[in-house]
């Protein structure tokens, strides 16, 4: 068990820092970026239950800039209104960056099972990316692969809190730079897992840096078309029983997401242009 260094945000909740008025003020800016830089196409929002808690489970792309998250948050907030409680879990290091102060008013909280439970018990929609830093820095040529690194915590949370899982599948984020390697070995040598809970030190070719190691300062994402497909809700207890075999449930849900991602990839004619 690795404990968080003291300078990282704690697991204490930041739920009260979410601010619907702030979201409303900033939505136009993010809408402009999502609509005209990333030409985002978000489909199937009507499948998300209109009220009550729901666990939105996404595949993660785009390095530390994560355009898929921005496009989805804009679409969700516009569709359901900024009033609907909506939180996103993020790595504590992301929330430690001063330049990303605006994430908290948008409803981003430190990723932890306790915070996930708390959000869902408040009746909120919660967006999680089980693949996290591992998946978001996968090489560009694995763009059409869902890779949660075997992390099944999201299943246990949804089962325990009796909330539906809604898979959110996106493509395009991994084309916003040329991601070359996760740099897992490098991260291990530098003991980043112990210092920052980081299992990767990604290496990419990205604007404006050229060779970009770590992506700590972010990068200027290329205007790749982002397509997001929301799938039908899954009731874990109805589908897998009260004592599910986690491996079976994981394979089933990730398999469903992978099939959707493969279909979205087949729709794309050219990289970046979509």
């Amino acid at each position: 068990m690795i404990s968080s260094p003291s300078f990282l945000p704690t697991m204490r909740d930041d739920f009260e820092r979410r601010d619907p008025d702030f979201i409303r003020q900033f939505l136009p800016l993010f809408w402009l970026i999502a609509s005209f830089w990333f030409r985002a196409d978000v489909r199937g929002l009507e499948k998300i239950p209109p009220t009550g808690p729901v666990l939105l489970v996404g595949n993660h792309s785009g390095g530390n800039m994560t355009p898929d998250t921005a496009a989805f948050v804009v679409a969700f907030s516009a569709y359901f209104g900024a009033e609907r409680p909506f939180y996103q879990l993020a790595h504590s290091l992301v929330l430690a960056m001063p330049a990303l102060w605006w994430l908290r008013p948008f409803g981003t909280v430190v990723a932890s099972p306790a915070n996930a439970d708390k959000a869902l018990r408040k009746g909120a929609a919660l967006l999680v990316y089980p693949g996290g830093d591992y998946e978001v820095h996968r090489p560009t040529w694995e763009s059409a692969t869902v890779d949660f690194d075997g992390r099944k915590g999201f299943l246990r949370i949804a089962h325990r809190d009796r909330v539906p899982i809604v898979p959110v599948v996106s493509i395009g984020g991994q084309e916003t730079a040329l991601f070359l390697s996760r740099g897992q070995q490098l991260a291990k040598w530098l003991r980043l897992d112990r210092l920052f809970r980081l299992k990767v030190l990604p290496i990419s070719l990205a604007l404006p840096w050229g060779l970009n190691i770590g992506d700590m300062l972010g990068h200027l994402p290329l205007p790749a078309k982002i397509t997001i497909q929301v799938l039908d809700p899954i009731d874990l207890r109805a589908r897998f029983g009260s004592k599910p075999d986690w491996k079976v449930a994981y394979r089933d849900i990730v398999g469903q997401m992978q099939r959707t991602l493969t279909r979205l990839q087949a729709e794309r004619r050219l990289p970046i242009l979509g």
Binding site: Q25, L27, A34, A75
Partner: protein
Amino acid sequence: MRVVVYTRIDAPRQRVWDYIVDPDRHIEFMEGMTRWEAEGARRTGLGARFAMRMRVGSAELGGLIEIVEFDPPCDMAWTSITGVDHRGRWRLRPGDGECTEVELRVTYYAPGGIMGSIADLVAWPIVRGHLQRSLQALKRGVETRPHTRSARFGGKQRRSTGGREKKRAQATVREVVRRG
């Protein structure tokens, strides 16, 4: 930002009015609209509320709206309760002979200072395009579909109106918008 589009429909005003106020029809002819559902028991008239969404750019914008003016068969206006701040109005006026002059006005405002103003400006051609095509669809629908109760309230409806009517409707809307 304010968007105003017009068309002239070769049908009596009451018939156009019946078509517009039927919530089942609304989602059929309103271009870009992804949702139009009555909220609560009232499905039409003053005070009726609807959950509406229209695809603009990457998002489906809208929210809860309420009918705040209902003057058959002349005017129907709505205002937003939640979601994107906007107002809208249908104005139906008698034209020559059996014609009806139809005007659809929508005024919207995005918060966020300069960015909101830029977003308003950028969204304008998209919204105008949706509204123009909506009037074309309305014109086609009213002029070519039989005006029967079964057709108005969920009866089987004609899907295709034919290319000639479509082109005629587009030409009329273009001409009237140019004049407006």
